[in-house]
Subunit: 323 residues, 2 copies
Amino acid sequence: MNTQATEFDLIARYFNRPVPKDMLGGGDDCALFSVPAGKQVATSTDLLLEGRHFFSDVDARTLGHKALAVNLSDLAAMGASPIGCLLGLGLPSMDPGWIEKFAEGFYALAAEHHCHLIGGDTTRSLNGITLSVTVFGVVDPLHAMHRRAAQPGDEIWVSGYLGAADIACRMLAGEIPTQPELLKKIRHALELPVPRVALGQALARHAHAAIDVSDGLLQDLGHILKASGCGAQILESTLPIHRDLLGLPAHLLRRAALAGGDLYELCFTAPVSAHAVIDEIGRELSIPLTCIGTATLLNDLQVVDAAGCIVPDLPAGFDHFRM
Amino acid sequence: MNTQATEFDLIARYFNRPVPKDMLGGGDDCALFSVPAGKQVATSTDLLLEGRHFFSDVDARTLGHKALAVNLSDLAAMGASPIGCLLGLGLPSMDPGWIEKFAEGFYALAAEHHCHLIGGDTTRSLNGITLSVTVFGVVDPLHAMHRRAAQPGDEIWVSGYLGAADIACRMLAGEIPTQPELLKKIRHALELPVPRVALGQALARHAHAAIDVSDGLLQDLGHILKASGCGAQILESTLPIHRDLLGLPAHLLRRAALAGGDLYELCFTAPVSAHAVIDEIGRELSIPLTCIGTATLLNDLQVVDAAGCIVPDLPAGFDHFRM
């Protein structure tokens, strides 16, 4: 075994925490896990590349958190319960301190959501850091929230607050002037997104369609509408803008709220009859849930401003770094 | 939606073939699949980087085949039956012809093994082609071939023939002189490896431990021995060297057979009592299966040459491109 293999064996040690008895973790050709009777496996994968999905100088712990968070967010949008994950890690060099911090960030979020790291692949990369995360969850097939399940008349909801990740990303990228005090308050929204896993599970029995807002509210809601063959009217005045942003110019706020990505809140549709129970779910989980509009028969996505006029020239979809 | 997104939507079209009714394929937050009662899910992931795991000018169809083949080989080594896969694809530019050929190579092998492509992630890469493939299979937990399951006294077997992929890779890399006629005969062993999926399933009820030979016979067998806490004696004269290589110098053959990677044959251990049934499995599947030695109590891996002497200075593990 050559030196290089030994180095990467060392890396593997940081990712070798024990897994439950009914699973087989790393160190074999495959990982193994069980699925309760009647459930389906939900799975999703994301490829994250340095310079494209994260800044080269990103904090390692933060990156470990985010790499898993964006995948857990996909399970959340399906209403699935996480059970395990695989990590592919391509690294240009061996920095044990960096690896240790990355592993800490990854494992902390994994533990919080009972999502066991059961395998992966480690290799030397010639060109920057490359991450590949695959998550597995289980879901009752009758209650999985498919994108195609929205119905005209459904209310459209969004969790949490809008805009902070987009404004933070634009400040860090130098696209808009940095306000240091504001950036300090909001950059965690970009770097440490909270996947809405418990919310997704709670909604699964009541909501129709759901998606996580990774590419911007309009674009992601658009995916639901296209798959479901319906349209929507969104009331701009109801959009839950992040309160720390309220002093910013209106055009920045509109763009951040409607087109800002990297958000990982859930956008979902549910019948009007479920309004009260959804309000109750939000209260129980202490997650703000806001009804922002209605799905329509007309195959078009309209945003209506405070004066009752349709907003022309809606901001385009997400166009900077995307996870 | 910007131009870039549209380009990548086009890419996604090449990977949008239908999936069986009990699965949910691409275009939602997660893919979904079912697992028969009593079975476990076996899963494995590989990260493949341009310049490290494949040459930059590799044929796209070949790369599509190999990216899936190396993962199917992991399922084979567990004795699992493939059911689906995810593909992460990072590309520096958009060449529809390249994508189409890659998809052809990938889908042809996927169809052969009933391994449905059910999801993935596509992104623009700033630094060369990046591939991430995750496969899923199902396996009876009582018969999964774990690395830790070898027992002293087990016979050690290998499928197929040894050395061709290693010699082809060294010729292509310029490490040894190229013999054009020979290279023509053997390069398919490197570029179009055949995952031993049916063999793995057939062996699962009879073999103890198994691994696929991706990093070299000694190194991979070493993983089994280490995990199982035993040793082995290998008889060099029994090694099934690829017949086209037999004119090459003995030191090249020894290194290719014992340390050559990128092979994707199965190395497995089984009790002596299973010898006849394993011979029969090889005949039924028309796959050469060769008994090459025995697992021992002594915690050491020895290769015994034709004169009955222990070979000193065994070749080191795999040290060039690896999948």
